[in-house]
Amino acid sequence: MIFKISFKNVWRNKVRSLIVISSVTLGLAGGIFTVSIITGMVEQKIRTGINNEVSHIQVHNPEFLKNYESQYSIPHADSIAGIISKMPGVKAVCGRARITGMAASPNSVAGVQIVGVDPLQEKKVSNLYTTIPDTNGGYFTGNRKNQIVIGRKLADKLKVRLRSKIVLRFQNIDGNLTEAAFSVNGIFQTSNTVFDETNVFVKKSDLDLLTGGDNGIQEIVIMLDNIEKIPVAEAALKAKFPFLDIQNWMEIRPDMGMVTSAIAIEVYIILGIILFALAFGIVNTMLMIVFERTRELGMLMAVGMSKSRVFRMIMLETIFLTVIGGIIGMVLSTALVGFFHQRGIDLSSVSKGLGAYGFDPKIYPFIKRDLYINLTLMIFCTAILAAIMPARKALKLKPVEAIRVE
């Protein structure tokens, strides 16, 4: 009954209520859309990072991670990779050789991680090859031996170009120093200059031929069909291979993980500020309403409506006003975000440089589902907080004074 009266009361002054409701709607829709763009950008950066550099999960021999010594390879890597590839949620698996070494050009020398890959398999777990601009060669094109793919930053440091020679020097599995010349086949460019400077890619078959024996697999990289499945897959892997070290992308790249959590907080701060501002408007409106209805509230208390019911009535009216606006705002922004998620927002005109850094200049805004849940809670809290003052004001009314006819 109180519920019904409160709901009807909302529509007593339609214009005023609609103004409050629209301000909540627009405030929230604007906030959610802004948040969706931020989330879209961050998510894209992380997706690129995962796709080009780290993948979802990496598996190593725990000893290897201590000093990156290639002697600590993964035992029976091929059969392990085979088992992993059949685990649920796994999209692609690929083994890599990893050797610490030196890259030298006639001009300069640099310490590098030599990554020995099977190009065909590698393309399934890493999009790195897509960051090689057309003018900068390819990813192991042709059948020539001893090709190398390096990053832009390293190319600049060593002052080499496409088809330049680079000499790689490293210890093979028996501890002997090996040295060979490689020809630059492609130059990639990710958004991570450290990655570009320190990783060079060669075919594992070339490496093995040079050292005269299998160098083993030091790293197994795994891509899942959905990033959300990481925790489950990670736990399954840990249970199945307790002797191996299993890391997800956040553990491998804590910086990327931190960005995600920092943004998650920032998002709530933005929405919190918007709701806080809206709360002032709501409090003001409700105080006005209580003032206008002094006589009616006095009459209600006189005929026997308890204080707690009066309090609830005003509370509910405030909550309706806020939550109606909140729901419309969320529906509206869901539609808006959905539309732009399909189409993408093209930022290339605003920020020309993006494409050159291996970024997709289009942003695909989106909202995580748990944001809606938390936001709903936040809207309710705002409504309740905004309702307290007006409702208390109503309680202070004395029936005799409220109903006195001037």
């Binding site: 009807k8 007593r12 009616e296 009459m299 006189a302 026997g304 308890s306 005799v400």
Partner: protein
């Protein structure tokens, strides 16, 4: 049998500066089935008296016994509940909840009392019929005339099955025909259902209908006349 007994009741406003004795040592008793009018010049204390009787205000001194309960000793929370269960109110105006229909306004008080739906429906219908508004059941107050609104208010006051109904100048905002009509309905309810009415008024024609007339002046009773 007396349903209300007032002993030495007084109400003083602005006690600290210049005290105004709105009521000054009133002793009165009301019995069941009365149809009583309180009259007196403006400022004589009629509203003050009805407010005290209704437990809407607390007196400066004296006691008000309603059915052996001294309501001057009740806490505000208890008073609200006491009003809900024992007293019906009809005010001069702003009696009804604007967003509810006539039926819902009458039903409302019973909902506060926790009466079940079936009983509520039956009683609401009976009451609206008895005040001659069975064709306005689903009409909202703003679509009712002043007289009709006051009749809904009477029905609402009756809905809680109160011991008595207090009405402070219920006809003040009505034209004479509506005022007469309202009084006739109140009279009928008093005669047929033995509902106790205590109302204040300035209107001589309303006073004429009362069976007992209490006259106040400067917060004191200067006349108490019962007919037949």
């Amino acid at each position: 049998m007396n349903i209300i007994e007032i002993k030495n009741l007084s109400k003083v406003y602005d006690a600290k500066t210049i005290p105004v004795y709105a009521l000054n040592g009133i002793n009165l008793a009301f019995s069941e089935g009365e149809f009583t009018s309180i009259v007196g010049p403006s400022g004589s204390g009629k509203t003050t008296m009805l407010n005290l009787l209704g437990g809407l205000d607390s007196p400066t001194g004296g006691e008000i016994m309603i059915d052996n309960t001294d309501i001057t000793g009740l806490k505000s929370r208890q008073l609200i509940d006491f009003r809900l269960r024992n007293i019906g109110f009809v005010f001069q105006s702003f009696n009804l909840i604007p967003v509810l229909t006539a039926k819902e306004n009458v039903e409302f008080i019973m909902q506060l009392q926790g009466v079940n739906k079936e009983q509520r429906d039956r009683r609401t219908f009976e009451l609206l019929k008895s005040v001659g508004l069975n064709d306005k059941v689903n009409t909202r107050p703003n679509k009712l005339s002043g007289g009709q609104q006051q009749r809904v208010a009477v029905a609402r006051a009756l809905a809680s099955k109160p011991k008595f109904i207090l009405a402070d100048e219920p006809t003040a905002n009505l034209d004479s025909k509506s005022a007469e009509n309202l009084l006739e309905i109140m009279e009928k309810l008093n005669k047929e259902e033995h509902i106790t009415f205590i109302f204040s008024t300035h209107d001589a024609r309303v006073v004429a209908k009362a069976r007992r007339v209490i006259t106040l002046e400067d917060g004191k009773i200067v006349g108490d006349v019962s007919k037949n």
